[in-house]
Amino acid sequence: MDDLIADFLVEAHENLEVIDVELVRFEAAPDDRAALDRIFRLLHTLKGAGGFLGLARLEAVAHAGETLLGRIRDGMTVPAGSVGVVLSAIDRIREILAGLSAEGAETAGDDSVLIGELEQLSEGKAATLEPPPLAVGDFDPELGRALRPGEVSLAELEAAFQAAEAAPSPAVESVGEPIAPATAEAAADEMTAAPSAQSIRVGVDVLEGMMTLVSELVLTRNQLLQVNRQRGDESFSTPLQRLSAITGELQESVMKTRMQPIGQAWKKLPRLVRDLAKDLGKQIDLVLEGEGAELDRQVLESIRDPITHMVRNCADHGLETPEQRRAAGKPETGVIRLSAYHEGGSIVMRIVDDGRGLDTARIRDKAVEKGLATRAEAEAMSESAVHRLIFAPGFSTAGAITNVSGRGVGMDVVRSNIEQIGGQIELQSQPGQGSAVTVKIPLTLAIVQALIVGAGGQRFAVPQGAVQELIRVGPGSDHRVEVIGRTRMVRLREHLAPLIDLAGELGSEPRDGDAFVMIMQVNKHRFGVVVSEVIDTEEIVVKPLASVLRGIPLYTGATILGDGAVVLILDPNGLAGRAGEIPAAAQAAANLEAFEGEAAGERRNVLVVRAGGGLPKAVDLAQITRLEHARADQIETNGHRASLLYRGRLTPILKLDDSQVLRTEGKQPLIVFVGALFAMSLAVDEIIDVVETPLNIELASSRPGVLGQAVVAGRATEVIDMDHFMLLGLAEMAKAEGTETERAAA
């Protein structure tokens, strides 16, 4: 059979199915203009294709049907039995098509009765079984005769072409489409109905498959690059670089196919807020910013509900009634502001309201009531610790407040949803000023940033999102390991975290003495995992383990590293299961001690610097080795990275944020510190002062590298998280040198 006809048959059958559905809909609701338009258009398409392929019967039947529908579109009341007759016309077309597909050509047959019926109806008469008059179409004044079935008047043709010129119809490429739409209106409709002829539908599974393959390709590329780096073979370098660039672009394009704007997850919010405002008698402005920021559809799905929940919380509990707001000297209309923006490989979303803020007294009461803390503990907690309480499982002030939501209802669920996809959530609140929830989520789940650690003579990968902090323990470290009963634990600011030894858990000799501790948190359970070394950070593709290994709770999967070796991926949940609980008495004592320390105003020497924009920054002097002013020409920059030649080796210079610009002449002030085992430095713009002050962090920060805000010398100052930069520096070193990290004694 002719390819042209085969294609036409496929399309015609699809169209007929749609017409069936639409006709039924039209019958039920005769004023459904859109349904009628669609039927008309599809029938018209069939007629056009029939004419083009020389299928006279099909063309004639379709034309008669179209004429009737055209009349109805023009406002004629629908004569009784119309739908039935049009349906039989559709059936007739099916018969003709069946003959066509069997014979390869149109079979003979008499359609005059059916066409007669259709024409009768077109003239407004009820359907009869009388023999039909001669087929007469619309009278065309320019031709001076009636149009024959399938013919289109010149005026219509003209109009159609004019409409088509504005936006070239995609129809030109496919055979089954009309050669010329009958009316300008129909043509225009066609274009609005199919707005993006430039897009095609692809199954999600196809995209998933592509994503997997590309992830593999990325890993293979990493492997190749590493091999080449070790061999130093120049001849491969150029093609490899090209391969590397193309792979990167390919990865990006494939990722893009799965990306959707975050606004998709916000769509229901305006309506939700409007309804809530009505129910609660409040005036609320919902401001959405950065809807266009895109993220993986899988991630998008998992944050949809948490977002809705948090916005509902803001509307219900964050914002006050107009009277309360007036009394507080605020505008009557409260504002809920959602914003989203990209930051590195993550998307940061903020939900801010200008309401009353969290009621910390009430939360304290509730915590005591729920048995989450004793009265003394609750009173001893810092503001931010109290804010964190609303994320605690089982903490809820629901029911007592309203039936819409409770401040804190299910915030633990929100938190675990966010953490499940490797995200972080933080809450800040100022009494009377409002509250802000900051959520940081990865753009995609396909490739995970992982920390590669060593334990028991073997390497393991840990999803980096699960690691909150990295500290050193052992002689000469600030962090003490304490033993209570059989539980080993480490003191971390005001908290005690139980420790598990990774090597010991895996059946090897536990690590003695010097070690790293990864501080992890799963569902409010904070614990430390002792490892012998921190090797690298690397992008990994998570692969499932074979079924015979799936029962081991410590692993979530395996991955192939850049050097080709397979490493197991540790499961934070599994590790949490191994970490014991801190005896309540010990925790209470620690809290109290921390509180007393705070109250006594434990004074520290703090270095105050200016770096990047915003507030001045503070660093605990105990964490710094020394300050240095390096000559700008001693600093080597390579893209985003900078390094300083120091004692014969390149040491990384880290920046507080990407916006910071290093000096190109004169001297660059640097804070030199020893991260893990390497010296590295943090670039600052200006060193302001060293002051002795208590360092109480009031506002926790969501920004990486900043612990939070504290008041230093009477000014709000951001306290720098040196652990973060230590990790960053370590990763830089590892990247620069491959995994063959030299161990230079610090």
Partner: protein, 148 residues
């Protein structure tokens, strides 16, 4: 007479046959990453041309003891079971023999339990016996055999 191809492998001096159709490849199991806490028959995981393959020690599975030191490097027979890739680590891979399954003798009744479930039957070859392993059950039974 229908003929089936069997790949013969040697483990602890015994000759075993595995249906060739089930076998994807034969390779040297190198750079195995141990999987602590796994059943003892599992040697670990390795990277075979970008696939993660779980290496399984056939000696341990059959209770034939540790490999004697100084023997040549072991080989692995790769196969896919339930969507996962496995490598059965054996002492050596010998040849492919064509045999008529009709000639296969059912396994003797007095086999130890851990053998009985993974042995399909025995062929009497001119100079030796070849025990046919059910590779699928050899893999899926891992971990359960330990309890037995």
């Amino acid at each position: 007479m229908s003929v089936v191809d069997y790949v013969t492998v040697r483990v602890g001096g015994h000759l075993f046959g595995i249906e060739a159709l089930a076998i994807q490849d034969v390779f040297h199991p190198r750079n195995i990453t141990p999987t602590p806490l796994s059943p003892p028959e599992i040697l670990g995981v390795l990277n075979l041309r970008g696939r993660i393959v779980t290496a399984l020690c056939v000696r341990c599975r059959l209770g034939l003891g540790q490999r004697e030191p100084g023997r040549p490097e072991p080989k692995a027979v790769g196969m896919e079971v339930g969507g996962d890739n496995y490598g059965l680590v054996v002492d050596s891979v010998e040849e492919v023999v064509k045999l008529d399954p009709e000639q296969m003798i059912p396994p003797p009744d007095n086999l130890p339990a851990r053998w009985a479930e993974i042995i399909q039957g025995v062929f009497r070859l001119p100079d030796t016996l070849m025990v046919v392993l059910d590779a699928r059950r050899l893999i899926t039974g891992v971990g359960q055999a330990v309890a037995a």
